[in-house]
Amino acid sequence: MSTQSPLAIEANGLVKSFGETRAVDGVDLTVRTGSVYGVLGPNGAGKTTTIRMLATLLTPDAGSGRVLGHDIVKEADKVRGLISLTGQLASVDEDLSGRENMILIGRLLGLKRDAAKARATELLDAFGLSEASGRLVKNYSGGMRRRLDIAASIVVTPEVMFLDEPTTGLDPRSRNQVWDIIRALSDAGTTILLCTQYLDEADRLAEGIAVIDHGKVIAEGTPSQLKASVGSGRLHIRLLDPEQRPQAERLIAAELGEVHLEPDPAALTAPCADADRAAEAVAQLTREGVRIADFSVGQPSLDEVFLALTGHTAEESAEEADMQEERAA
């Protein structure tokens, strides 16, 4: 590659309608080359449609997009030479073995037969799939399928990688494995656009996040900016002695301004903007002799982010999108 474009992905006012439903309604995105960028939103928010347009699978109705400077419509073929997509449906052939899948993709990308085989072996080993390599993919577990899917996406290391909900439906261990792989890919210089429903996933991996709802970007920034704009998280405290709760309530209210009593007679929570003040509040309790069983500062969930940004919860938004889809169908 001669000159690296500073921007890996630029989307300007992308629009895509299906029937009467505007699945994507003017999305702008700017993703720096080499970064991991999260697109966060509930089901039906337009994440997948956006990714499919950027990956040249759908033609936008309006707006434009560029991948490393190449137009996603006019230079679609060039774009395809730079990207790979790991779709929401596993993008591997279930009727073939894991190894055959890898060789198939290698050959299609232009590797000679021996090179494709060697590459398949290397990647299957690296992804812990060598033992299962001869088995048909339809007999793989969800986590194995995901790993094969990602392995197939990097047979030739792409410049830009689109990951559509790579951990939805995975158990925590498989989820961690996928996160490790994404970090490794990012360290190697691949730009990653990550669609997810999980704020903590975006928070762990992405340096920038766009929150999308009803086909529009409703907030954008770094994970901490976003959380700060939402009013950060909550301080959760559980006391050893429920008798001390009124005292704790008074102290926390003085420190943080607001406090909620939980149904659990030993528990109380308070919204708090930053961890320092939460720590100060906890220290204050200890100084006053209130004994604490445990405490935590929880991140706001996607639902809280949504509630703060849109006034409705993510679930309501997803339900609404479902209904719109039904009407459109």
Binding site: G87, D95, R147, T157, Q177
Partner: protein, 282 residues
């Protein structure tokens, strides 16, 4: 104890260091040529047959059934003897069996579209029609199997074509070339219709009349005038005439060119249409 899980357990954690190494160890190769990409998709078709050999049943058992039923059921009534009728219908059954197989190309494509892997194919930097051409190349092997089964069975039953082995090979080749052209019609249908079943029904609804109302099983002279006129312009009749001519050693260059021309015309119209629809399909 519950039943053992059929899905395999994750055997090992992905190795971060190895992943890192694997990621940094490739340079992008030169793009696959159109031919290489198409052949790779053909190989994919073959692999599916390897994993599920039962799917060859329809191209082996059905033709055997057709040959036996037609020869012994209608032979005496139509041609006076089973032997005479076998000589007449074998090329016809060959054409019919191979053409029926083309419907499955459309069914297979329609089934494929419901799977996530197609998304990956569509984001690869490859010749756009490669997945389609490759699948049809793979299917041509199925046509060859069906055709060979018929010819071999025919020979066992006493079929002795005048043009010998070269004539039979040429007839088989002509039939497969035509089938390749015709299968583009069904891949188009496969992209237009919503379910594999719909493709199958529409396909056979079209193929039954045009194969039976042709010169495959009965001499057209015996038909009412209107029907005879249809038989004469029916492309399937042209293929049967060509195949029969090649087996008997009486084919004219015009007959053969006509069949090749129809196959080329079908490909010229329906291959771009299929490619267009494949690309558009959301």
């Amino acid at each position: 104890m519950s039943t053992p899980a059929t899905t395999a357990q994750s055997p090992a954690v992905a190795d971060a260091a190895a992943v890192q190494k694997a990621i940094s160890s490739t340079a992008r190769p030169k793009r696959a040529s159109a031919l290489s990409a198409a052949l790779t998709f053909g190989w994919r078709g073959m692999l599916k047959v390897k994993h599920v050999p039962e799917q060859l049943l329809d191209v082996t058992i059905t033709p055997v059934m057709f040959v036996l039923m037609f020869t012994y059921l209608f032979g005496g009534a139509i041609a006076g003897s089973t032997g005479a009728y076998l000589d007449y219908i074998l090329p016809g059954i060959l054409v019919m069996s191979v053409l029926f197989t083309t419907v499955y190309s459309g069914v297979a494509l329609n089934t494929d579209l419901t799977k996530g892997v197609v998304e990956r194919f569509r984001t690869l930097p490859i010749w756009r029609p490669a997945p389609l051409v490759g699948a049809l190349l793979g299917d041509s092997v199925r046509y060859l199997v069906a055709g060979t089964v018929i010819v071999v069975l025919g020979v066992i039953l006493g079929f002795r074509p005048d043009a010998g082995v070269p004539g039979v090979v040429a007839a088989l080749a002509l039939t497969i070339v035509f089938a390749f052209g015709l299968s583009w019609v069904f891949t188009t249908l496969g992209l237009l219709l919503r379910s594999p079943n719909a493709v199958m029904n529409a396909g056979f609804m079209a193929l039954f009349p045009i194969t039976f109302v042709s010169n495959a099983f009965v001499p057209p002279e015996t038909l009412p005038a209107g029907l005879e006129a249809f038989v004469d312009v029916n492309p399937v009749s042209q293929v049967v005439t060509g195949a029969r001519g090649l087996m008997d050693g009486t084919a004219s260059a015009g007959d053969i060119l006509l069949v090749l021309g129809i196959a080329a015309a079908l490909t010229a119209v329906f291959a771009p249409l299929t490619t267009y629809l494949y690309r558009r399909r959301a």
